[in-house]
Symmetry: C2
Subunit: 287 residues, 2 copies
């Protein structure tokens, strides 16, 4: 089972709790291990396998991207942001530990992500590996994920147009999903530049589809199924695909994005089966 | 003036405020620009010049380290950590903006630091540059600076022994001061491994001396001179070199560390003049 592979890799990369500072390391492990859909690592696995990458290289890039993702969840759940108490079916990090520790957990997880990208050979040469560092930094920074969070802050309670909403999500979730796919692909050398461009195109549709479905699930599902507080968006008057399009048209939009993602994979024939399964998982999931 | 060089470099690296998300970029520039002693960049400059590095390479590594330092200050000032309102003589980032923005500012500055290290050629080859990424990540992560903050959290209100206090500070400030020196040295190729080891030794004494004097200044100086709230340590019952040794013995200890730092520079003769000036600045400063 692939999720178990992610778990094993992260388990091995995180500092052991016996190592000082023990409480911080315990909280880092609490935040990262034991759950999550692991969509980004799964995308990295699938793209890496398509590129004939060595499994241990794919593992590292997959873990680096997931560490960035988890750091953003931990900070996003803090009282000054979304103020959430439930994540992956368990108390959020600042509830299980405390706010200061959760802040440091996010900080240290981000650092660990870059550490992982620089520790072992992960690409055809060191220069290509530096590109990986740059790709992850672009995806995570103020013009990527952190920037998307900032746009989110600014937009709460405001009306957004559909293009504005899309820009927010391309930053907030899309860029990191894209980075997961690209880093997976670049951990091998079996793909041409044109093929990597097709993967890039796939990942952009996949990222947006992921977010549209996230909005639908927040509106339609319940807290127990989601493992995080349901109905938050409406409660906070956040603009979402559901608030703009309604749930039914939002689902249809996700289906359309799925079609375009699948089309981008055409060139790969049977080799992209795993990526096709993932886009189905993204669009048809119930949590 | 060297501080102005730091300012210019950071100015050019930070995203312009005209770029979306504008409020986040404005807050990032507010936090980074317009002040600070810039001890870490100055150490990187001095070590880089000793290693005959190209100025633009030194500029980048100096900026990367300073971005990590500033991110840590912004997060450290948050209500859930030190809850401070004054930094570098101005309102802290979360006071001037808001808590959520300050959280994202710190997050995005950390990402930017790693971006800067991967963007341009900064070392003799890409592999040596990946080493730089690893050095900075080690210095900043849960076994470095963030770990030092965690130890600090755990130790507030507790009695610490002198060795425990030293361990906390080696993590909290020492590792990043060391990284500044080592990254500066590695941005050139004029130094032997043995010489880099001498610089490493120097930086460890310099880092500890810096912290001892910080403790003395917090106890003896006033808020206007420091540009940050004075007397915080005693008020919070934080263990410091002053609480353990008294101010006079703490100063003597810093002087001793300065002597050992200077001794580590002996091998360099006149070439290390700038580093000698810096250790003097660190120990004799009044803010």
């Amino acid at each position: 089972m692939r999720q178990e592979r992610v778990e094993r890799v992260l388990e091995a990369l995180l500092p052991p709790t016996a190592l000082s500072p023990t409480r911080l390391h315990e909280a880092m492990r609490y935040a990262v291990l034991g759950g999550g859909k692991r969509v980004r690592p799964l995308l990295a696995f699938a793209a890496g396998e398509l590129a004939n990458a060595a499994p241990e290289r794919i593992d590292s890039v997959a873990a680096a991207v997931e560490l960035i993702h988890v750091y953003s969840l931990v900070h996003d759940d803090l009282p000054c942001m979304d103020d959430d108490v439930l994540r992956r079916g368990r108390p959020t990090c600042h509830i299980a530990f405390d706010e200061a520790t959760a802040l440091l957990v996010g900080d240290a997880l981000q650092t660990l992500a870059f550490h992982v990208l620089a520790e072992q050979p992960l690409a055809s040469d060191a220069s290509a590996q530096l590109d990986m560092v740059r790709i992850l930094a672009s995806a995570a920074g103020s013009r990527g994920m952190a920037g998307g969070q900032a746009i989110d802050l600014e937009s709460t309670g405001r009306e957004l147009s559909l293009p504005e909403l899309e820009i927010m999500h391309i930053h907030k979730t899309g860029e990191l999903i894209r980075a997961a796919t690209l880093l997976g692909a670049r951990s091998g050398n079996g793909l041409s530049t044109a093929e990597i461009e097709r993967l890039d195109r796939f990942s952009k549709f996949a990222g947006l589809a992921f977010q549209v479905i996230d909005d639908v699930l927040d509106a339609e599902s319940d807290t127990a199924t989601l493992g995080k507080t349901a109905g938050k968006d409406a409660q906070r008057n956040k603009p979402t695909y559901v608030s703009l399009l309604g749930a039914s048209r939002a689902r249809a939009f996700a289906e359309e994005l799925r079609g375009q993602a699948l089309q981008a994979l055409d060139v790969f024939g049977d080799r992209a089966q795993r990526l096709r399964e993932l886009i189905d998982f993204i669009v048809l999931r119930i949590h």
